[in-house]
Amino acid sequence: MSAYDAIVIGSGITGGWAAKELTEKGLRTLVIERGRNVVHRKDYITEHKPTWELPLRNARLSVGTKGAEEYPIQARTNQFRESNKHFFVNDHKHPYVEEKPFTWIQGDQVGGKSLIWGRQVYRWSDLDFEANLRDGHGVDWPIRYPDIAPWYSYVERFIGVSGEKLGLPQLPDGEFQPPMEMNAGEKLVKAGIERAFPGRHVTIGRVAILTQPLHGRLPCHYCGPCERGCSTGSYFSSQASTLPAAQATRRLTIVPNSIVHSVLYDADKNRVTGVRVVDTNTKATREYYARVVFVCASALGTARILLNSTSSRFPNGLANSSGVLGHYLMDHHFLVGARGRIDGLLDRYYQGNRPNGIYIPRFRNLGDDASRRDYVRGFGYQGGAGREGWGRGGGEAGFGVELKHRLQEPGGWSMGMTGFGECLPREDNFAALSDQTDEFGIPVLRIHCTWGDNELAMRKDMAASAGEMLEAAGVKDVRTYDAHREGGLGAEPGLGIHEMGTARMGRDPKTSVLNAYNQTHDVPNLFVTDGACMASSSCVNPSITYMALTARACDYAVGELKRGNL
């Protein structure tokens, strides 16, 4: 079949970026997507639908309810609702084996999870890139902040990020559009926390949502539910941003409904030559060829493809001479924090649905007095304040005219926050091929992942510190919470939807899969730029780091291609 300059596996956040960069640099590029096509605007079938047009009124489709029958895994996340279930994978079609509770949330369409992601974007700092070297967990990152900083800027200028500059070394500032505004409750809590805890900061979330026009995309119109798709392209998605840029070059081809079975490898030349796919409609097998292959299939999807790409040279998976492929799986642990009631401010309100909350940057283990003996690394908080709505009536006595009149007015203020904690890279957290296959004849993953002592010790501090800060800010009835249940569901690995680390970067080919440019140590024309590449997890939302690494890797790959090295 036809040959391309480059093949990109996956069309989500990193696949879209690879497509844009490679086509803009002159490469005829084929993007292969497992899921169906989703056309920008046209296929956002629930966008701006008033709730009364949704038969279940946008019910949360939890596990076991009708409407979630085909989604026993996806239904575990609170993101899964009547209005956006069509952007999640059918679990019966794409199963995996849970050796320990692990929730694998997957998209299954062009655009991948970029349509439903959380849109929070924070730069890493050298506190993160040096962490493995400093405390000995994992392998040393082969890059430092100055290597990636210009690529963060490059990405931010293209995707559009709104946020506030803070000047903090642990959370570097970026190229920001004007920040969204905090509400009165958040301003009150911010003032209280910053007064009681010098060095801690409460800021508005840094989000890949526009507050000014950018490249033909419109600023946010504050309808609220981004996860239904955005016709004005106000939040970053592959559909709104990278894929149109790639299409404009006329060098892009996208084939949806094609699941990659394996990457083809030529042992004589030590190069990959293309991919073998299975058509998800007809089950027919096809092959595509190219000079360079970028695997952007998500951390676990990428591991699965490479593990299934075996040869006499790589019997345990392509580019896996180190044996670490599939291992060092990480996620952020969360759903631990505190909430409470804010008295007063009944003469303040807000207008519009802001798709964003507040952020409290990491303040632990910065090498100062706030360092802890009971765990390493750190965490940040996301949260927000608001006035209670009509739903409060379900928890209060009374009915009739009195209740109806009471619920006409907004209720009191409350404030909540949840921590997002760093997870250590551990060899015994892994994904491997099971002996079961899916309907396309591809072995499915078995996943074995647990939180370790470090994460569990950190969670205690995450709950306590959240409670302590809210109380110091004058919040009443503060209650801490921790959704983690040992061995069960609640805050199990995977639920953070920040899974990463299965094909890590490193300096040593014996202990890592990728070099400093996301190129496999073993095979020069094979690159991995999605979450699989991560050698540690930091505590901040990871997507913008994947984007920056992808753009950087594309720049390197095209240069090497031109130099004749691939």
């Binding site: 605007r41 701006h48 008033p50 709730t51 009364w52 047009e53 038969p55 279940l56 009124r57 946008n58 019910a59 489709l61 076991g64 309810t65 009708k66 409407g67 969204m180 505004e181 905090m182 509400n183 301003k187 026009p213 033909g216 419109l218 600023p219 946010c220 119109h221 504050y222 309808c223 016709s231 004005t232 009944l346 003469d347 303040r348 309100y349 807000y350 207008q351 519009g352 649905n353 802001r354 006035r387 709505g389 009509w390 739903g391 009536g393 379900g394 928890g395 209060e396 006595a397 009374g398 009915f399 009739g400 005219v401 209740l403 109806k404 619920l407 006409q408 007015e409 907004p410 209720g411």
Partner: protein, 200 residues
Amino acid sequence: MNRASISRRQALQQVAMLLGGAISAPTVAGVLSTATRRAWAASPQWGPRTLSAAQLELVATMAEHIIPQTDTPGARGAGVHRFVDTLLSDHYPTEERDRFLAGLADVDARAQAAQGKTFIACTPEQQVALLTAMDEAAYPPVRIDSARPPETWFFRRMKEVTLVGYYTSETGASRELRVNPMGVYRGDIPFPASGGREWS
């Protein structure tokens, strides 16, 4: 013309395109509600799929007591009973559906015990008295959740689905409350400390 103004013009064109032509933003709500009013109008063919006619009437009657007609329609006018039938048919797991139906039966059993007739056959005053007793049991003055008697599950659930069904209906969301308009976000604005309407 500078770049910013070009962007703004393009922006306005995109908005116009989205709305299907050159109409101004303030009319969007009106356009939507005309279309949706048509969509939501109870069709003459509508019939319950889980509830019997008597159960449907029981749900509608209880819901109307919880959110009655005032200067705006109440739960019955907003079709809460139809929403409840949809939930029971298309969303609730079987056990939960059966528990809800058992709760409805229990309401009639309470009415029989107190008045010797079904809930529907009771006078409005008798119905309110029955619901008041259920409400007081479900929401004791000191909230200790674990101590709440299990038979109060139904009334709390009934109240919850009534509120959801009402305030997410077009009537509840746009006439009783106000639909939060698209377009701008103002994070911290003055508001009357009493008498102001909340966003639906």
